[in-house]
């Protein structure tokens, strides 16, 4: 137990260091850009420009700007949008995170749920038509990028099934409204579900040949108990190891999915801000993402020993 606490502590420090490092690099890179964020505003008097620069502290030397930014971040203040003056970034990003998380968690559910189900069924019916259908679906599904699934999801559900959906595949639900989430979440989760299915099948096949599983069958235990409690629990271990990269993939994938469906989450904000050259928001979203990816990976590593008592820190 104490080992776990120390381990989590170390990891948290590493996450903080990584986040600080990469967001600082992004900060410096974006501030190297010649000119300034207001150059493309038309009909601007020199006084107004100077006032704007002063307002954002952009007239000060870079090290001073950097220190200001760090001080702000430590107090949870990511600054103000360059494009929409007066909009504070922290509350904006918190609201958008809740939207992204709704879709992301649902996608994770699709990935793990569907992946495990297909993988286990394929393994238990190895070399039958069920296995072939499941395996070949997985091998094809893994290669179709999520944005392709999203485009055709939009076409099918938003256009061909217009009578059912009234064209609304997605509208801003906020945290807790699940009704509009399925199509984007499936598009986001499906490629990874195929990957999980392949991995589960392989590791299930290896596990069910073990002596202890044969013993469990021989004892006359029900299929449900043998499969779920004896075989699946061990077969899950390799699957859990890829959960970290998988969550990173879902977070990254959400950037493109949110842009296709017009979901007002972090990913859409990221791309919109890059295109609008709103560097303050770009840095803010990026800092959020870096921390999020680190924390997701940490969560997975903490769950890991719960599943497999042989692993300790």
């Amino acid at each position: 137990m104490r080992g776990t606490v120390v381990y989590v502590g170390q990891r948290l420090i590493l996450i903080a260091v990584t986040t600080a490092l990469v967001s600082s690099i992004v900060f410096v890179l974006l501030h190297q850009i010649p000119g300034n964020a207001f150059l493309n505003e038309t009909r601007q008097s020199p006084e107004a420009l100077a006032a704007a620069l002063r307002h954002y502290g952009l007239d000060r030397p870079l090290p001073a700007q950097y220190l200001d930014w760090v001080r702000g971040v430590l107090r949870g203040n990511l600054g103000e949008s360059l494009v929409n003056r007066g909009v504070q970034i922290t509350p904006l990003l918190i609201r958008e995170t809740s939207v992204s998380a709704t879709v992301g968690l649902f996608a994770l559910l699709v990935t793990v749920g569907l992946g495990l189900l297909l993988g286990v069924i394929a393994a238990l019916r190895q070399n039958t038509w069920v296995d072939y259908v499941a395996s070949s679906t997985a091998v094809v599904g893994y290669s179709i990028p999520s944005f392709v699934i999203a485009i055709f999801g939009l076409l099918i559900f938003g256009h061909y099934f217009y009578i059912w959906t009234q064209g609304t595949v997605y509208y801003d639900p906020g945290w807790g409204d699940w009704t509009q989430v399925p199509v984007p979440a499936v598009a986001l989760g499906l490629p990874y579900a195929s990957y999980v299915a392949r991995l589960t099948r392989a590791s299930m096949l290896e596990t069910i040949r073990n002596d202890y599983v044969r013993t469990a069958w021989a004892k006359g235990l029900s299929a449900r108990i043998v499969v779920l409690r004896h075989a699946l629990r061990n077969a899950l271990i390799p699957v859990v190891t890829i959960l970290g990269p998988l969550i990173t993939g879902i977070i990254t994938g959400s950037v493109v999915i949110e842009n296709i469906f017009g979901i007002p989450g972090l990913g859409k904000e990221f791309v919109t801000s890059i295109l609008a050259r709103d560097y303050n928001i770009v840095i803010g979203v990026f800092t959020f993402y870096a921390a999020l990816v680190g924390l997701a990976n940490l969560t997975v590593d903490v769950i890991y020993p719960l599943l497999d008592p042989r692993i300790r820190y």
């Binding site: 590493l14 996450i15 260091v17 990584t18 490092l21 990469v22 992004v26 890179l29 974006l30 190297q32 850009i33 010649p34 091998v139 094809v140 893994y142 290669s143 179709i144 990028p145 944005f147 392709v148 485009i151 055709f152 939009l154 076409l155 256009h159 990173t248 977070i251 990254t252 950037v255 493109v256 842009n259 296709i260 990221f270 791309v271 890059i274 295109l275 770009v282 990026f286 993402y289 870096a290 990816v293 680190g294 990976n297």
Partner: protein, 307 residues
């Protein structure tokens, strides 16, 4: 070789069972030939290369030429894949996109290897402080959202600082800078294991220098898993380019990137789905081919899967 030639007549007289001498590549080749999916993947990849080469000298219409017919025209005999929203021939653009895809894939594989292999070899071979430093950097790098950093890199390097013109090369650089760790980690592991093996020890005894040990003894023996890893890096790079171009942050128009073509067609998709269909199909089939070949190679190089 001369040895075998002398021994052969005797072998034919006396029917001894002699274990066939197989090299790693021979063995892998024999096993991959039995894997139908991997073969299909290889055939598709060869086809992609051929189309890319042809597109360098000839496409039915220039890839940028607008209004060769009515806009949004569905497939016809003259234009087998139809025309897009600017009246450009989609077949020509798909061919041009194949060239872009090949450039991105090959370039990324090359640069990822150039960064990852030396770092991995150094870490695994010298261990100690060198390994600690390199492994620390690898671990830090794994903690960052790679594609998002790459996205920012493309933007900063080309649009903001004008260091590299916006094009295939900047995408390759951004991808490689954020995704070199897989190769480095793999090579490090291989080098760690191989440096303890007897043949490396023997070479060291014979007076081989470190560089010779690394290049002539350790690196060639790490090639199998390395090829597999690089085969999987190619579809990742291709997908990254499509992803960027789809968002409008990748290759500038009128470059016939498959991702950009999908983005072009997606606004008119309810009445002209063929514009989206062609590039997304081409992209998916290409990714699938590389994944199948990679799976096949992995099984072929895996010594636990003998025969």
């Amino acid at each position: 070789m001369a040895h075998a030639a002398v021994a052969q007549p005797e072998l034919e007289l006396a029917t001894y069972e002699v274990a066939e001498q197989v090299t790693l590549l021979n063995d892998a080749w024999r096993r991959i030939r039995r894997n139908r999916l991997a073969l299909v993947g290889a055939v598709v990849i060869v086809l992609l290369l051929v189309v890319a080469l042809i597109s360098m000298v000839w496409t039915p219409y220039p890839v940028w030429l607008q209004a060769v017919g009515p806009t949004y025209q569905p497939p016809t005999l003259r234009h087998p894949f139809g025309l897009d929203q600017a009246g450009r021939d989609i077949l020509s653009r798909i061919m041009g996109g194949a060239l872009i895809t090949v450039q991105v894939g090959v370039g990324s594989a090359l640069i990822v290897s150039l960064i990852g292999i030396p770092l991995g070899l150094l870490a695994g071979f010298y261990r100690g402080k060198v390994d600690t430093a390199i492994s620390f950097v690898i671990n830090i790098w794994y903690g960052i959202p790679d594609l998002l950093v790459a996205l920012i890199l493309v933007f900063v390097l080309s649009d903001a600082l004008h260091l590299i013109p916006r094009g295939v090369f900047v995408i390759i650089v951004a991808f490689a800078l954020t995704r070199w760790m897989d190769v480095a980690r793999l090579v490090r592991g291989q080098a760690l294991a191989l440096r303890e093996r007897e043949f490396v020890e023997a070479a060291r005894m014979a007076g081989a220098r470190d560089l010779a040990l690394l290049l002539r003894h350790i690196f060639p023996n790490a090639l199998g898993p390395l090829i597999v890893q690089i085969t999987f890096a190619i579809p990742a790079a291709v997908l990254f380019e499509a992803f960027l171009s789809f968002l409008g942050l990748g290759l500038p128009p009128p470059t016939p990137s498959w991702g950009a073509m999908a983005a072009d067609g997606y606004h008119g998709m309810d009445f002209a789905p063929h514009i989206v269909l062609a590039p997304t199909l081409a992209l998916s089939i290409t990714l699938m081919a590389f994944n199948w070949l990679g799976d096949g190679l992995r099984d072929a190089f895996d010594p636990r899967m003998k025969r």
